[in-house]
């Protein structure tokens, strides 16, 4: 089931998005969406360290950090997550930063149209699935050609499912360092 992360400092927006997406007519999405919402970008980032998301939709103007900064940091944790910005504030500078720095898939204006949003979500998910499938097939070919060991492949898969797990830091005494928040 596709996992969706919604980030906006206004809880009403999050609630209405969740309602709208869930109340979409059956068949709008090929699989039902699992939706998690966050009013705080940093909490969202922390959560991204624990669980993989397929798509994140973020507001642009938020008190802690703007949408572009948030999506950049999120991309460091989960490079393959599809990113969109939903904003009522559409100045050119924000738009350029969103495309060039956060490499977003779509920029959607508020107020949005629910059906257009659903369409964009579907396309983003398909796009991401294609990219991942492509990478997997490429890895498979590499394994078959002997350029990638089965071990390395397993590590890659693991990282995909549990972001950050393969980059565990150890203290000099060998104990695992769980304080990797500053890396986010």
């Amino acid at each position: 089931m596709p996992r969706l992360m919604l980030v906006d400092d206004e809880i009403n927006i999050l609630n209405s998005l969740r309602r709208a997406l869930i109340a979409m007519p059956a068949g709008t999405f090929s699989d039902p969406l699992v939706i998690e919402t966050f009013t705080s970008p940093s909490l969202a980032l922390a959560r991204a360290g624990e669980s993989v998301f397929d798509l994140v939709i973020s507001d642009y103007r938020m008190p802690e950090m703007d949408g572009v900064a948030f999506l950049e940091k999120l991309r460091d944790v989960q490079p393959n997550v599809a990113r969109m910005i939903l904003s009522g504030y559409a100045d050119l500078k924000a738009l350029i930063a969103a495309i060039n720095r956060a490499e977003i898939y779509r920029f959607i204006g508020k107020p949005w149209d629910d059906h257009d949003l659903a369409l964009a979500i579907n396309q983003a998910l398909e796009h991401r699935a294609l990219v991942l499938e492509n990478a997997r097939l490429a890895d498979l070919v590499r394994v078959q050609q002997g350029r990638l060991s089965r071990n390395e492949l397993a590590v890659k898969r693991l990282e995909e499912r549990y972001p950050g797990i393969t980059q565990v830091k150890r203290q000099p005494d060998g104990s695992i360092d769980l304080e990797w928040d500053e890396e986010l």
């Binding site: 206004e10 927006i13 009522g88 949005w112």
Partner: protein, 439 residues
Amino acid sequence: MAESMSEDHVELILPSDTPRSILELRLATLELLDDGVWISETDGNVIYRNVAAAAMEQMYWSHGGHVGTIEDVVFNPGVLQLLRDRGRWSAEYHLSSGDEDGARVSSVAMEMQLLNAQGIPGIAFHARDVSREWSREQTLQDRNVELEQAYSRLKETQTQLLQSEKMASIGQLAAGVAHEINNPIGYVQSNMGTLQTYVRGLLNLLDSYERWASELSDGASAAREQIEEIKRQIDYSFLRDDLLQLLEESREGIKRVKKIVLDLRDFSHRGQTDSDEWMSVDIHRGLESTINIVWNELKYKAEVQRNFGDLPAVECMPSQMNQVFLNLLVNAGQAIKERGVISVTTTCLDREICVAIADDGVGIAPEHLKRIFDPFFTTKPVGAGTGLGLALSFGIVKNHHGRIEVESKVGKGTCFRVYLPLRKHGRNNLGQTAPGTTV
């Protein structure tokens, strides 16, 4: 008689022993003057005229018969009566000279007063050719008119500047407000959509209950009665019908707010983004397509007359200019209550074109005329206008370095004139300057 009439008359008192030679010299001096001098008896009988006076008579009065003789024009009973009443009479005549073409105009300043020389009453008449002074004065007057025009243009420019200042600050405000409004509108709109889905689902469920309730066995008549009671209380059938209409109306309201915010954003973004492209276009095509767009709104009340002149291609942002025409046409249509005529006239002036959109509708009250370009100023009923159309148009035309003028008479109609320079103002972008551009 003359003595008693006025204090204005002149006493020429000469000492009785004045040598005759001095008197002769005086007369000789009079002969030297360029000004004409006449002396007459009180009845207007001229007894002396100097050389210049004789020449003037020849030139202006007795010759050509334009005006008449000097006796007819100056020493006539009417003038003499005035002179006796006031002691002094003066006038200025503008006469075409004796030339056949009559092109040159001579101006003569004349003055006549009563005299009294040692008890002998008389009249002195003096005339001076002031053609040169007069033409100088004419020039001055022309200059003055020019200055006044320049002043009013300057004043107009100042009001336009003030207007743009006002726009700029409101634009900044608007951008912030638009963003703030977009958030709540965003979720309210989305919620309304979802609510419609929910309500449809609930109504479905209710219908199903209804069907089954009708099949309840007679033993459950109490339950059925209770249901009927509640239905009566809440006026179920009305509520059911009204519910969906209510939702539809609410969505309509949100749509309207959305439109206002969008207009606001357009308004505040004008001039900041150069997203619309400058092109050399045929203004008539833009006008035609815009008329087509508003035709649905206009066709029942107005006939559109096109008085298109010969226009060269105009450099402008066509989509923006079309929006200006659209606003003006919609306004013209709304000004017409029953049936009327909207005329669209285009003319090519020296370095600019003029598009005039006129209606014969209700007109604009003078006290409103000053404010029509102010953002949010509207006289339309609530919901019919945002009060941004003209403000937006003003901004667009200003961006094109053109101007909008308006003329309106209550009950007669209104005419908006949009002036646009033929070429983009102050172009200095690389690769855009056409050769021979003189702006």
